[in-house]
Amino acid sequence: MVWETVIGLEIHSQLSTKSKIFSGASTSFGAEPNTQACAVDLGLPGVLPVLNKEAVMMALRFGLAVNAKINQHSIFARKNYFYPDLPKGYQISQFEIPIVGQGEIEISIAEGDTKMIGITRAHLEEDAGKSIHDMYKDFTAIDLNRAGTPLLEIVSEPDMSNAKEAVAYAKKIHALVQYIGICDGNMQEGSFRCDANVSIRKKGAKELGTRAELKNINSFKFLEKAINLEVERQQDVLEDGEKVVQETRLYDDMKNETRSMRSKEEANDYRYFPDPDLLPVDIDDALLSQIRTTLPELPTEKKSRYISEFGLNSYDAENLTSQKAFADFFESMLYEKAEAKLSANWIMGELSAALNKNQMNIKDSPISAKELSGLVKRITDETISGKIAKDVFMTMWECQRSADEIIESQGLKQMTDIAAIEPIIDKVIANNSTQVEQYRAGNKKLLGFFVGQVMKETQGKANPKQVNQLLNEKLS
């Protein structure tokens, strides 16, 4: 049986407002438990929510960035259910009329192809608090610092047909929300969380299969794994002649499995109704056009520009623009007048490798864009070779000194004086007569050997171009 997979994602993106969506309490991460929960967040009797306008502005930025229909009259609703980390016994969310309606976003799929993914809606809601089950024996601890943090829940159409596409879409949204400055994108801290709705059907079938919702996925790697695991599981179920049950499943990264959390029958009836404590949100055209003017260049636009303006290839342009921090770094290097293509190579190559190895974010890179530009410029003006540059880079990473300082103090400046290089070449030719004979007999591959010997003698400082040229002359 040939199956096809249908995936839709629900992404909870935490909006980076200073205060909560319905109260004045701070949203910053990592404070002592329950120190950032005011009377409103605690759900004390008598308190009332007041909508944070900044959260609305951020939702609108997102809507405009994905060309969505903006609902200029949207309402907040209460989603009722009991849980200890939900202080009011209901979550204020949007149900019937979300602020952001139908939109779309382009993702890159294999071999430079692109695909449009539909966005069904995006709505504003408040986050719940946190239940901590392993802090006290026999008790669950509740931390309400997170309660009331503004979230934008972004719901996609079931437009993705494999885990890779789902990841590409999630990454695209992840990049976008950072570009437009509405979310810090920090997945470890839970600022960006994905739930995946996964179903399979016979290839070519029109009807969607029964879906499972995968929850608790906090990295792109886990997203891919969880979807693949779930697809395999559903295939096994169907091929055994059984039926997939509509349910919520938890992804367990330790055991690398998904397991049932609750079935549809056990699901809550949330009894949504309009929240009588809040007025409808009315947005006028003037506000929308004002927000439109403040939107920055978006990743897709940036990617096209990198290709057309700097001659980057599609792959590099995609990679550089996939994270705002990378694009920012790149553009800072351009500002320092470093050559574009070489800058891109160094960011995607050495710098990324070093960051990955040290599990660091580019924002915390010990080598700044300005410093890396200093290095790249020395390659461009042939002060050092690309090979030496790699050593200089490592020293820069470790010692936080500028490229020029390192080149100077370690005497790494490229030898460009023919008078100095020539005797060394002569010496290499004299000491390797066997290889010279073989070369002259036609084994041209040995040129590399001679270059290597010269470089060794000069500790890599000879200009490889000059060395090649001189060797060619003298060996012919």
Binding site: A39, L42, G43, L44, P45, G46, V47, L48, P49, V50, L51, R78, N80, F82, P84, P87, K88, G89, Y90, T140, I142, D269, R271, Y272, F273, P276, D277, L278, L279
Partner: protein, 481 residues
């Protein structure tokens, strides 16, 4: 003797230093102590005396406001910092509020003296005050009878002059009906006129706070302080607050009064009807023009209210779950047991009934038939009023179909719900409404209801005040007061 003064008179007396706020406060505290009405859940003697001393110092220094030093009773639905705020419920019996409601804050800032927190139907659900965890309140006119509800404690306290005035809240008649049954003046302002922040929510789209006073003049004085926009309450209106005392003495000659025929049909007690018709004649003699109006959808007010209010309360009361504050059952086995028993043991019968009705009406498959339908009818009820107010300035009729009934007399809840048949529409439409003493039937007070257009509190107060200059029903006192 001091307790026989109105707020307006007390204000003058304090300003002239005829007596001090401390003397006045002690006088009321003594009256409360001697009273057997069960009007108060909490008496805040120490706080009252310290506020009175503070007020006296302001009065001496000459930086006092009109209401500085006036003692009042606060309905126990308003959060008061450091003081038990129970809303008449066992589930909040242990709750000491860590913050002040906006209204509490405003009255404090004005320099008023809080004597205590008044008894009420549990979480403002009831029309007799019999639903209080702290026991029923007696009507000062006849202690075998109920004071009405839910602001029964506040109404009884003012009627018995245990306090110069009191605060109340009105979701379906909870200020007007007890005011009527206790022979005093009660005003429910336009929805959005007074902040709801810190007022324990029953039905958010209907709840509105207002003054319970001896007279319309006092109501105007108190409303001046109560009313106003609050940035903590998104449903409060950012609209200027007029000086409600300014136009009290305007002539009401030519005032158009609408009498809804639907308010004088079956179920209205004859004695009550007689008093109401008599008072309308009084208005005619003062130069008002009376005409009949129709509110055809008012018959649906009771069923509509008993969908809307329970739906909202079923959600509003979810926070009373025994997790963070309030009553928690002993030795919960697990989370479900904690929820189940804390709420089963903490809530009274009527509250549980309304939570169940609301939960049912909001459930998948029933929402359209109940909640949505009720919202549509609610709209129609508002339209009825809109049409009527194109023709008349004020609508008048009875507040309650009967005078105060005896304790334990009404056993089934539906009969009890009918006690609010004339008051519910006003909340559903969000209009201001008032009850003023209009006479007696079998020695029990009868209130006249006046309904105004949106934001027309000034008109209502003017009309009521003019009536009170021509009649003395509002100065009648229960025996031995």
């Amino acid at each position: 003797m001091m307790h026989k003064f109105s707020v307006a008179e007390l204000s003058k007396g304090l300003k002239n230093r005829d007596f001090s706020s401390v003397e006045l406060t002690k006088h009321y505290l003594k009256r409360i102590e001697r009273s057997d009405l069960n009007a108060f859940i909490t008496v805040t003697e120490d706080l009252a005396l310290s506020q009175a001393r503070e007020a006296d110092s302001r009065l001496t220094k000459g930086n006092a406001n009109v209401l500085t030093g006036i003692p009042y009773a606060h309905k126990d639905i308003f959060c008061t910092k450091g003081i038990k705020t129970s809303a008449g419920s066992k589930i909040l019996d242990p709750f000491i509020s860590p913050y002040d409601a906006t209204l509490s804050y405003k009255l404090n800032t004005e320099g008023m003296v809080m004597l205590g927190k008044t008894n009420m139907d549990e979480l403002a659900m009831g029309s007799s005050n019999e639903n209080s965890y702290y026991g029923p309140v007696n009507n000062p006119w006849d202690k075998k009878r109920v004071p009405g509800g839910s602001s029964g404690g506040s109404a009884a306290a003012v009627a018995a002059r245990l306090s110069a005035f009191a605060t109340g809240t009105d979701t379906g008649g909870s200020i007007r009906q007890p005011a009527s049954l206790c022979g005093i003046t009660g005003l429910k302002p336009t929805y959005g006129r007074v902040s709801r922040y810190g007022m324990i929510a029953y039905a958010s789209s209907l709840d509105q706070a207002g003054p319970i006073t001896q007279s319309a003049e006092d109501a105007a004085l108190v409303l001046n302080t109560m009313a106003g926009f609050d940035d903590k309450d998104s449903t409060s209106m950012n609209k200027d607050v007029p000086d409600y005392t300014e136009n009290l003495n305007n002539s009401i000659k030519g005032l158009k009064i609408g009498i809804p025929k639907e308010y004088f049909s079956e179920g209205l007690d004859d004695g009550v009807a007689k008093v109401i018709l008599q008072s309308i004649k009084e208005f005619e003699s003062m130069g008002a023009i009376v005409e009949e109006v129709s509110l055809p959808n008012s018959a649906y007010a009771v069923p509509t209210y008993y969908i809307v209010a329970p739906c909202e309360c079923s959600s509003n009361l979810s926070r009373l779950d025994g997790v963070r504050y309030g009553y928690r059952c002993d030795d919960p086995k697990d989370l479900n047991d904690l929820y189940l028993r804390s709420r089963s043991e903490g809530f009274g019968e009527e509250v549980k009934r309304r939570i169940m009705i609301g939960t049912y009406a909001l459930s998948a498959g029933y929402y359209d038939a109940y909640y949505l339908k009720a919202q549509k009818v609610r709209q129609l009820i508002s339209e009825d009023f809109k049409k009527a107010f194109q023709r008349v300035d004020v609508i008048m009729g009875p507040v309650s179909p009967t005078t105060a009934f005896e304790l334990d007399a009404i056993k089934d809840s539906v009969s009890m719900y009918m006690a609010d048949i004339y008051t519910l529409s006003v909340n559903l439409a969000g209009l201001p409404g008032m009850s003023i003493p209009a006479g007696f039937s079998n020695n029990l007070p009868v209130g006249l209801q006046m309904i105004g257009n949106y934001w027309s509190e000034e008109v209502l107060l003017n009309v009521a005040h003019q009536f009170q200059t021509q009649t003395d029903w509002h100065v009648h006192l229960p025996e031995n007061t």
